[in-house]
Symmetry: C2
Subunit: 326 residues, 2 copies
């Protein structure tokens, strides 16, 4: 099942989207918003699936054309957005570029940060920045949405709390990160609003590619229309999405509608390209002594998408343009 | 005007509370929830004030007894909870206890962390911990709730976005903080659910004590019924609540209902006592070589309250007991 939120007020209007992303149907009689559906998922999911089955069978008379440009984020605002850094190749490169050692604990104790969730961008919303010198970067990732997760939930049980999967561009202001990292209090200024794919899908839509809490497909990125990367999101993920949820649940419960991100997808095989500019700049620094690829500037565009075995877009694409404001 | 959310479903039921905290009235005809009121504050606030005036004049026939034990947090879940560390005496002591220098930038660049806001505790809810060895501590603070704040908003303009003020116990697991600080990604495990005062009040309720975005009154704390401290929340606040909001707005807008905390209240005058156990332990370490005061254990209780000039409770009290769960 595929779900989206059409732009409407602060919380959007929930729609069920057809598997081929061509049609959708409003389901306000079942749940007005994505959050309302997640708040009561066990009761509401079966009814949404009935609507989804009718839509995919071409039996839904109220079907309308689906336009990703009309989409808000699946959750236009959320009660929780926590992002991991589960691809240790990315973390290794970051540290290598600044001649820092990788602590052994990083292989057992996930890096995660709490993000702002009051403003989650739709797939076509601009990346709004106030200063190009801040070094705007994309971070292409996979994120999941949970239902209620009890305190102390272990990884083996966490997987069943993953109700939806989507893509995210965790926009990062690289120039502001070193100061915030040094303060130790996490990313408050350096991680402005993240953008999400047009649709969020139930794990069963991912067929055999969703295994052990990891999504085993390449995540494709383009910058200004030019291929930038397609690393596989499953192969080198050190901590699964279930592991990340269990890490959080160590000391607290998670409320329904919590969004948990994977961190920038990254593979050791450099021919697969990248999911963030920082990584290619780190490799340039290691190999050539200095970075060459520029960060994003006003008017630059990014595209993030994941295809299924037939080459069809699973989540729709995130397509954003950078906009400099005063 | 004083507002509260009675426990009801995930988001509570909004009530207007009398100035003396003795009565309240349901206002579902105006706004069902606190978030709904904040989403449309300019329209809704005048109507809530009419209900408040009727209640305080004893002219509200639907008035009922107000019981803080029936309260959820004013916002039982929120789209944003960010906490500052605006009392540099606290930060200086933390660093002195571990022989670390205070960077000069700390006087101009606020320390802030993004907290989890999917689970905000009511004033009588238990502090649930899974391990006493984690070093459970209170942090008594003042927090504000904003309406929508545009990106780039300066401190002088930020103050008018402060719609409500309340107290918070930013529960901290001290034993888990050093590892998370070293990782640089902020507090994910070491800051479990925070608890809030029964009522949130508009700044005008604070009379002359709300000046320049600071609340100039002592914040009183007790541990197991024993006086623990009453440092003044205004005097030594390096960054005002407006400064903290402006800091966040540097790179992003803030959505209506964002909660921004002050950090642990702290004064140089030690006779005023403390708002967290860590601070007294730091002083013990500096003066006696080792900490003596224990962190909170199963069954321990904390109380946090602020009184007006007549000795009446402004926000009602936070009164929590620590509960160890398996």
């Amino acid at each position: 099942m595929k779900l989206a939120s059409l732009k409407h007020g602060r919380d959007g209007r929930l729609v069920v989207v057809s598997r081929d992303l061509k049609h959708c149907v409003e389901v306000s009689d079942i749940a007005r918003t994505m959050q309302a559906a997640l708040d009561d998922w066990a009761q509401i999911e079966p009814r949404l699936r009935e609507a989804s089955d009718r839509l995919n069978a071409g039996q839904e008379s109220r079907a309308q054309a689906f336009d990703p440009a009309q989409c808000a984020a699946p959750l236009p605002r959320a009660y929780q957005w926590v992002d991991g850094s589960a691809y240790l190749n990315h973390v290794e490169l970051v540290r290598k570029a600044r001649n820092a050692e990788m602590p052994p604990s990083f292989y057992t104790d996930p890096l995660m940060y709490q993000g702002g969730s009051d403003d989650l961008l739709g797939p076509r919303d601009a990346i709004t920045i106030r200063d190009e010198a801040w070094g705007t970067d994309l971070e292409a990732e996979v994120a999941v949405i949970t239902d209620d997760v009890a305190i102390g939930t272990q990884s083996a049980d966490a997987q069943k709390h993953i109700k939806l999967v989507m893509l995210v561009n965790d926009v990062s202001l690289r120039g502001l990160i070193p100061n915030e990292l040094a303060k130790g209090f996490g990313f408050v200024l350096s991680k402005p609003a993240s953008a999400f794919s047009p649709v969020a899908v139930t794990p069963d839509e991912l067929e055999g590619h969703w295994r052990e809490g990891k999504l085993h497909l390449p995540l494709r990125t383009w910058i200004n229309g030019k291929w930038f990367g397609e690393p596989n999101a499953g192969e080198e993920m050190t901590f699964s999405h279930a592991d990340l949820i269990a890490h959080l649940a160590n000391t607290r419960k998670l409320g329904a509608g919590s969004i948990v991100g994977s961190g920038t997808i990254s593979n050791k095989d450099r021919s697969r390209g990248f999911c963030c500019i920082a990584e290619v700049r780190m490799i340039e620094t290691i190999e050539q002594g200095k970075p060459v690829t520029p960060f994003l500037k006003h008017g630059d565009s990014v595209k993030i998408e994941m295809l299924d075995d037939k080459g069809q877009s699973i989540f729709g694409s995130i397509e954003q343009t950078v906009q400099l404001v005063s």
